[in-house]
């Protein structure tokens, strides 16, 4: 075997991969998003189901790896709201699709997600697609479903660029690039990361922090959240020490972050903000940062708000401030509080995961639209989802704006003390940057 050639090939492959996954500089954003659909687009003509007895609802979520802690509960809630229910003569049949792969360490896989979206798009009886869990996966699914007039409702995507322009956070061409047919087919029942980042920045300020080092995992969610925090932190008078005054990406496949931690320490931050999901080697990252800077304050977003993250970081996670981009399950009121207590009672005292209520809410939005449409017509279902207004859900009343974003809401702040789950600390109004 010729090792020179083999190694050169491996090297070139990794170089190309690195180039493909490197940061894209934040440039000027595209004009504001198009408004919700009013007239029936050509893509939505003749999109009526063929079955006289079944309506199909799909979900696409990562059903392996660390994500199952959240997604098992999401699927359970979708089933509770939709599976087997009747709409006129039709019975709802629910399909639980997995968009993760073992090859991707149990995290979402773009090829699998596209396959799922195509599967739903090509099923004439599919009337809604619930998902995705990861914003990066949504980028791939939305255009496929847009061409097929299939509405998508996410319980968890928080990257702003999927629905709107946020200067300094979203990329040029977003969000229009995801809607090739010129109309919106995507809605979400959770807030966006511009609001979560801004709330984190506001919280950091009230904690007396003035110098932040901001890291991200290079993914759509992590980068969007970290950049939102960086922008928000500058707005409240703080200084961002990481590269170019915005977030700096870490390599999730690295074996060690000791040198990176030394670099951060030398910059002298009093807070480190990390935009990442759990599966991006966060256990090692937290440990190395804590080892180099035992006293520094660390804050992160809801991508790591899960028990598996804490199991990975151990005591290095103690003291970490965590934000959740909506109202946390233990802070829900009214029907939400009743649902929370019942959930715990039904699950042997176990609290729901942070997104569980939003899985229920996403399914409720679909259920409401199906009832209003009262037929198996994709356009009618889509139109009613996008027109959702003051809908009572366990996550609170939901009204969607023209972009498909939920209006109002809040951001919840927690802190990990010495064990899991973290303790509630603050509730912030959901404000953009």
């Amino acid at each position: 075997m010729n090792f020179r050639k083999l190694s050169a090939l491996a090297g070139v492959t990794v170089l190309l991969f690195g180039a493909c996954t490197s940061n894209t500089p934040a440039g000027s954003a595209a004009p504001g998003g198009s408004s919700g659909a009013v007239t029936q687009p050509d893509a939505c003509k003749s999109k009526v189901g063929t079955s006289t007895s079944e309506i199909h609802i799909y979900s696409s979520l990562p059903r392996q790896g660390t994500n199952t802690e959240q997604t098992n509960t999401l699927v359970e809630q979708i089933k509770v709201v939709l599976d087997g229910k009747k709409i006129g003569n039709w019975t709802i049949k629910y399909f639980d699709l997995d968009d993760s792969s073992a090859a991707n360490n149990g995290d979402w896989d773009g090829t699998v997600e596209q396959g799922n979206a195509n599967k739903a798009a090509n099923d004439p009886d599919a009337m809604a697609y619930i998902g995705t869990y990861n914003s990066g996966a949504a980028k791939l699914a939305i255009p496929i479903l847009n061409a097929a007039c299939l509405v998508m409702v996410t319980p968890a995507n928080t990257y702003p660029g999927l629905t709107k322009v946020v200067n300094g956070v979203t990329k040029p061409g977003e969000p229009e690039t995801y809607y090739p047919k010129g109309y919106r087919n995507y809605a979400r029942v959770v807030g966006t990361d511009d609001a979560q980042g801004a709330a984190g920045a506001e919280w950091a300020k009230t904690l007396g922090k003035t110098k932040a080092y901001v890291l991200d995992d290079s993914q759509v969610y992590g980068q969007g959240l970290a950049r939102s925090f960086a922008l928000g932190f500058v707005k409240v008078g703080g200084t961002v020490l990481s590269a170019n005054g915005t977030s700096e990406s870490f390599d999730a496949k690295a074996t060690d972050y000791g040198a990176l931690a030394q670099k951060i320490k030398a910059a002298g931050p009093d807070i480190i903000y990390i935009g990442s999901i759990t599966g991006q080697n966060t256990g090692k990252l937290w440990k190395d940062i804590r080892s180099a800077m035992p006293e520094v304050t660390i804050m992160a977003g809801d991508g790591v708000y899960e028990k598996s993250w804490y199991e990975g970081v151990g005591s290095a996670g103690n003291g970490t401030y965590l934000t959740f981009g909506a109202i946390g399950p233990d802070q829900l009121t009214g029907d939400g509080k009743t649902w929370y207590e019942k959930y715990k009672a039904d699950h042997g005292g176990t609290s729901p995961a942070v997104y569980t209520a939003y899985g229920n809410a996403a399914a409720t939005v679909v259920w409401d639209a199906l009832n209003k449409a009262a037929k198996n017509d994709r356009w009618e279902v889509l139109k009613n989802v996008m027109a959702t207004k003051d809908l009572a859900t366990v996550a609170g009343p939901i009204t969607l704006d023209a972009n498909g974003d939920v209006t109002g809401g809040g951001i919840t702040g927690y802190q990990v003390e010495t064990s899991w789950p973290p303790a509630f600390k603050e509730l912030f109004a959901s404000k953009g940057l």
Binding site: F3, N105, T255, Q262, G279, K284
Partner: protein
């Protein structure tokens, strides 16, 4: 300057762990010209075994008395090395030996298969999430006793050196000075002739896997006590670095694997510290390409078997 020295120390610690794993790759390649893709995963399994012994069986913590801590860690190293060596010998017997005379692609595919099997076993038993332990060593700076406070050498870093360096010396002595080591070198050079000269080739190859497995076992213990975290896909991360180290130093060359690993550890650390962590892989492979273009046999050439 302090930052440069501190970064060097971090790179040295990581490089030493890479070296232990890289030796497993280079030993096997030197003997049977097989890139044993499962070796990184064997290292991961070892770190899981060590974590299980430390956290569940012996329940060690930072509060464990020093003598007990040292004794149990030595025991954990010994047990993990033995188990890992046994697994590696079994892998050789089941997955590679039946393919000894098959086309070279067959054992390569078999190695990839074993890699997946090991990963899936770990995933099945330990789950997909990171598994961690708290640091068992004191967090004091060893250099502070000498009045140096701007540069830190931790007990963890000292532990890496204390385990790794003696093992590297012992391996070099074994291969260079013992009868079995001579048999390994003879088999690497020409297995048929070595067989005619009375060397039991199958036994020698099994011995090579035994030693490689034991080194992966030691590396697994060092890894969990140094990094305090492991996960089922850890083998890919470390395996890529270790394999690259072996190629950089000269595949089949024991000293080359160590030198390659130390160089790689430094490139990783200095890139993370002074450039961008996101570009470290690209820089590592750019250096590898540059070295191989100008010195195709790696930094120290291919000594153990001159036929790569």
């Amino acid at each position: 300057m302090d930052q440069v020295i501190q970064t060097f120390i971090i790179g040295l610690s990581n490089g030493l762990i890479f070296a232990l794993v890289a030796l497993g790759y280079t030993l096997v390649y030197g003997i049977i010209e097989l890139i044993n893709f499962a070796h990184g995963d064997l290292f991961m399994i070892s770190s899981m075994i060590a974590l299980f012994l430390i956290a569940t069986v012996f329940r060690l913590s930072a509060a464990t008395p020093v003598l007990e801590l040292v004794g149990v860690i030595l025991l954990v190293i010994a047990v993990t090395m033995i188990v890992s060596a046994a697994i590696n010998v079994a892998i050789e017997r089941i997955a590679y030996r039946p393919l000894r005379h098959a086309p070279k692609l067959a054992p390569l595919i078999s190695a990839i298969g074993v890699s997946f099997v090991l990963q899936n076993i770990a995933n099945l038993i330990a789950g997909p999430a990171n598994k961690s332990i708290d640091n068992l060593f004191p967090t004091t700076n060893l250099l502070s006793a000498f009045g140096i406070t701007t540069i830190a050498v931790t007990f963890q870093q000292a532990f890496v050196a204390m385990v790794t360096i003696p093992l590297l010396i012992a391996l070099t002595w074994f291969v260079d000075k013992t009868r079995q080591g001579r048999a390994m070198r003879a088999t690497a050079q020409d297995p048929d002739t070595a067989g005619l000269m009375g060397v039991d080739v199958n036994r020698t190859i099994a011995l090579t896997f035994l030693i490689g497995g034991a080194l992966a076992g030691a590396a697994g213990v060092v890894q969990i006590l140094y990094n305090n975290v492991t996960v089922y896909n850890l083998g890919f991360r470390f395996g890529l670095n270790a394999f690259t180290s072996a190629v950089l130093g000269g595949i089949g060359n024991l000293s080359g694997a160590v030198v390659g690993a130390l160089v790689l550890g430094q490139i990783n650390a200095f890139s993370d510290r002074f450039l961008s962590a996101n570009w470290t892989n690209a820089i590592v492979f750019a250096v590898l390409i540059a070295v191989l273009v100008f010195k195709p046999t790696g930094l120290l050439g291919q000594q153990l078997a001159d036929r790569a």
